[in-house]
Point group: C2
Amino acid sequence: MTQTTSLLRTTRLDNGLQVVTERNPSQRSASVTWLVPGGSACDPLDRGDGWATLLSEFLLRGAGELDSRGFSDALDRLGMRRSVTADTYHQHVNATLAGGELLAGLDRLVDLVRLPRFPEAALDAVRSLCLQELAGVEDDPASYAGIRLDEIRFPSPFNRHGFGEKEHLEAATLSDLQSHWNEVARPDGSILAIAGDVDHDQVMELLEARCADWSGIGPTPAPASAAIGGRLGIERDTSQVHVGIGLTGPVASDPDQLAFRTAIGVLGGGSSSRLFLDVRERRGLAYSVSARYSEGFALGACTISAGTTPERVAETLERIDAVLEEFDAGPTDEEVTRIAVGLRAGGLMQQEHGPARARQLALDIFRRGHARSTAELLTEFDGIDADDVRRVVSTRMGPSWRAEASRCLLGPANVIAEVGGTGA
Amino acid sequence: MTQTTSLLRTTRLDNGLQVVTERNPSQRSASVTWLVPGGSACDPLDRGDGWATLLSEFLLRGAGELDSRGFSDALDRLGMRRSVTADTYHQHVNATLAGGELLAGLDRLVDLVRLPRFPEAALDAVRSLCLQELAGVEDDPASYAGIRLDEIRFPSPFNRHGFGEKEHLEAATLSDLQSHWNEVARPDGSILAIAGDVDHDQVMELLEARCADWSGIGPTPAPASAAIGGRLGIERDTSQVHVGIGLTGPVASDPDQLAFRTAIGVLGGGSSSRLFLDVRERRGLAYSVSARYSEGFALGACTISAGTTPERVAETLERIDAVLEEFDAGPTDEEVTRIAVGLRAGGLMQQEHGPARARQLALDIFRRGHARSTAELLTEFDGIDADDVRRVVSTRMGPSWRAEASRCLLGPANVIAEVGGTGA
């Protein structure tokens, strides 16, 4: 355990860039997650909704001395798998490659973050792609129901789906994007995590050389208004009815976070959970039903999702309510043990998968202020206590928690009319 | 390299069960993939289309001395993540757990395969869930277009989507399912692969004790009729238009397989491929466009997919055709090198991810007759030769290959009327 801990190293550059590496002596690949400020919540609300997604497209289209094609070829020659995607807070620059190519690859990623080319010739194609993605949002009913739930459950600017507004995408200019990126992509607020075949000192040497003249503080979005809340019904001519229920939860840095996570696991995590056994296994009411908890930086969230049929939706909703009410009494000791064992096993597996580990290290630093070693994680899981979980259920959940739930229902018009809520 | 090879061990029991393990000394988790005959192509065509999916549901609902709840609790106590899913040929029993619990977990999985309980009380719920899943198939337009393409491109019984026929699901009895499973789930044709923290001798000792009295040969489905082929248009009121083009390809055991895979990589694998650069990056015609190759046991397949808009679909199809025609001249040396480097990097990463590695070991044995060590895989990738790839392009692809393509288009009625093909 001591050995594992010592393989985790963190350094903060003078300019604020945080770097964490975890060497895994048995791995020959290295996985990178670089969080750079500039997620969808950083988009200017009034005219730039969608800039983050345009940026994700642009960042892989040439950087430093290389044009789009040349940059892509260079990464290919390194055998680098890569992607750039935006979440609420950051652009996630992800890469995996052989450890022997890590430094050469990192050099290119510094170009990507600091010197993207924003080729004029690509603007029409990039815009067209983002508009297409936006137009396709409604085609997948399950994910669309989730998007619309987020819209009512979260305060602005955290309630945006990230695909942007049509008008804003159409109006964005190259100089809008360049100056926005120049403003947000700053070292203070950036977190670079590397797991696998990595040498911390070599990485730091490269970063000192390439990032010493980079400076400034990236934005940290904060809630700008209250959530809309309530119930939303969306009429769609689908075979299934999609149910989404949004509840609150602790943020990652909250001391109750792990007990809350355990409670939600008992409620709706996997095939032994109360919701699964009651709604799916015993009654066959819904093909899928689950509760999941996402710890966040500014907002924690618990989401209950179900996919059912028009004939069964009313009973499905009744049973979900009943299971939630019964849960006020809290989980049994055995249920808590089951979830703790599962979390421990999941922690071990994640440790062994480079890309998942890099992502976790980066998000740990962002959300908690420090990266947890595997030993530390496992110790946390071993310390899960049933009484503590019941305390958290009685203080953080219960009738008032349930009363504040937002709900989104997507399905045929007659279902929405019967059980639906406000039309949309 | 020699060391890596020696960590791979295979044993064939007298009853035909094939076992492959690959010890990874650095991993503390063990990942299991157990292929058991009984996939969708084993379903009786005339009355049992969907039995495989009903079986996947039933197999986790109690086995040996444990009822559904007890079985689930027992697996949870082992910290085992598990799933049972059916593909064309097999039920895939997948599990990951801490290495220290592997033998106890394997003991339960033997129960699952050999002694499933098929509880009468679960039949209504299982049937209802499978009917719901079937009803939901059309709700996701992209995957539905793929399903309908498979229906016309592959010969029966390989052209079924696996969700079953409504009438067959409704008519299935418990004794149908029990006797079908009893018939198909036989050791000869079963392949058990374990990667990670595993001791081959201990595994074999357990299997000898538990499976010595198991006997018989599982079915190996074969094509029963010619494919329908042609062009299919599906009218749907979607924002996007989904294009699927089905072409043939070599099976896994074909010596041309790797050269063909490389060629398809150049054509449509990733962001430097010809299709991506031409259709997406340069022209912004389609949000997604790719070509992928799936080596199979009885059938290999190459699939070109694109998601575009009604206004752009005609030009998208034209450009795909043009890129395919230009590709008759074969890839450049540089393109081949790029794909070979990527395959090599991907091979390394897969090796380090237990669940992916277990799956590959099992499928290797099924499709090729033997499991490849990582060293063997990397040697294959290092041997990729541009002239050989061009030879395969000129002999296995080209005008006659393209002429036999099947095509499925899903989108608004006016698009289908204009560019679509036979209505559906």
